[in-house]
Symmetry: C2
Subunit: 327 residues, 2 copies
Amino acid sequence: MATIKDVAKLAGVAISTVSYALNDSTKISQATKIKVLEAARQLNYQKNGFASDLKRTKTNTIALILSDLAGPFYSELTKGVQEVCIANGYDLIACSSQGGAQSTAVKFLTEKRVDGAIILDHNISDDIIIQSARKGFPLILLDRALKNDHVVLVEVDNFQGGYGATEYLIQHGHKDIAFISGPLNSHDSNMRHKGYLAAISENHLIQHSKWYMQGDFTRDGGYLATKILIAQGNLPSGVFYANDEMAVGGIQAFRENKINVPKDVSIIGYDDIQLAEFTTPPLTTVRQPKYEAGALAMHLILQQLSGQIVNPYYKLSTELIERKSVK
Amino acid sequence: MATIKDVAKLAGVAISTVSYALNDSTKISQATKIKVLEAARQLNYQKNGFASDLKRTKTNTIALILSDLAGPFYSELTKGVQEVCIANGYDLIACSSQGGAQSTAVKFLTEKRVDGAIILDHNISDDIIIQSARKGFPLILLDRALKNDHVVLVEVDNFQGGYGATEYLIQHGHKDIAFISGPLNSHDSNMRHKGYLAAISENHLIQHSKWYMQGDFTRDGGYLATKILIAQGNLPSGVFYANDEMAVGGIQAFRENKINVPKDVSIIGYDDIQLAEFTTPPLTTVRQPKYEAGALAMHLILQQLSGQIVNPYYKLSTELIERKSVK
DNA sequence: CTGTTAGCGCGTTCAC
DNA sequence: GTGAACGCGCTAACAG
């Protein structure tokens, strides 16, 4: 593979001249430029990006770290990040934490391979984050609580979202409301649950333990939890699923048991995934401002890269999307 | 930011000793190792990944290049790529071509920033690909035709898919079948169309030009094309949409015009997106083996990286998913 | 067996 | 337009 050296030799000029010519510097005469470009083309020269990054000590790229590249869930968020990123001339790469401590994500965080990172990923341990956080390396954490001087938190107000969803059910006359949680270690799910509990208690309703089911944010998990709920007998009149995927599974479980949604039981989800609009009945849910979160995160990185000080904490509000799954 | 030099100074040893210690070489005594590690920890030392990549002239990472990181469409494919990648100890990063010639994707392709790449992205021009293709740099092109010695093609058989979909409609008694295409420059859409035409002509049906509509692979495009189809009067009895997104838009258009699917008109899509199962009626469609394509692509890269010669061309078959949108 | 010196890899940039 | 230092870590060869 040809290097800048080969090009210089072929063009009969110094290495630095080639570098200037390729970067279109004004220091170089038109004639030399052409000569160099021609030599580069002949040799099919391609520069080594690392070498220049190394020299410049900046990469001009931002990493977006997700639990799983394959998840369609992050689409909106990614869009927000991506648009701001491109508009500002930065490169964006997405990588996943699949693979544990050897994962690509960790490598990018700890090895100075990017200028900044946005993390929405609970597989990345606090330790790794703390270890990576440093001055001059903007690190934005989405939906996660962690106190560190070099880290900025952007959170969607899951408490408010959970509270709002529950309140909505209560306003529609529901008194017995079940909650299907996400994984136990999910900060998001826990906050939604707290919001739920707050709404329950402020309205002087009682929280039966049998109306708390643990799910795992998957469709199957929601299906299973709902089956158990049904098997317990004595249905609640409303169910709040900590995310839409589980609600979709729940709808299926109810249908299989000839329980009509929303006539027999009202349900509400969380996330407003694309599917929510198409379930039968269409799912009432809580929309998270994902695009906004992504765009905000990226803006915060850019601001920090340009030397500004930003607040360490941002909270975004959710919005209730009324459809047909609540009576 | 601390470099290896600082660590050496603090630990009171040579730079190379630090390097050996950090890479856990046997050349170094346990005591020195501990001393070095301790110094590294104190300084919060983090190595510069580029510097080592530069030296090793390999990055151990593979790029997956997509038109748009935000598209949920590629989820399955990504999964296939990702799993194989991780299982083999390679890193995977995803990047998008948004941003044209300055895009991250182009940068990764041309600047030796990765050891190999998988491209499913028609925004990347043939020129760029040809320019990037080189010996020792495995480049897999998905759903794209391009003849080049250093490039491997993996294609889903869109002709067969289009043929099969049309044949299916014909077998169900449909004679007047419309085709809603994707963007004109889409290789996929064109091949599906060719399959459609072949099925039509082999069954001695006639192809009316008014039953060819141009769409753009979006839901809105499908909606619009369908509205026009309806406005023309004299509906076809079957419609083959070149992708599911458009079919979803089509269903909506039919519903708004009180045309019942599948009673009044049968429709069939292409892709088997997650949504297809949830439309009303559930959409009959052609499933592409996306996971398999991704896994295959990644395998081909690994094989090439280990020095094997692989075939330059692979074709995967589609599968028809019967649901309820065809009578 | 431990640790050091020296040079590499490749492009950038400053002083001349 | 050029020479040479530089950025940072890796590693072969060599000295202690």
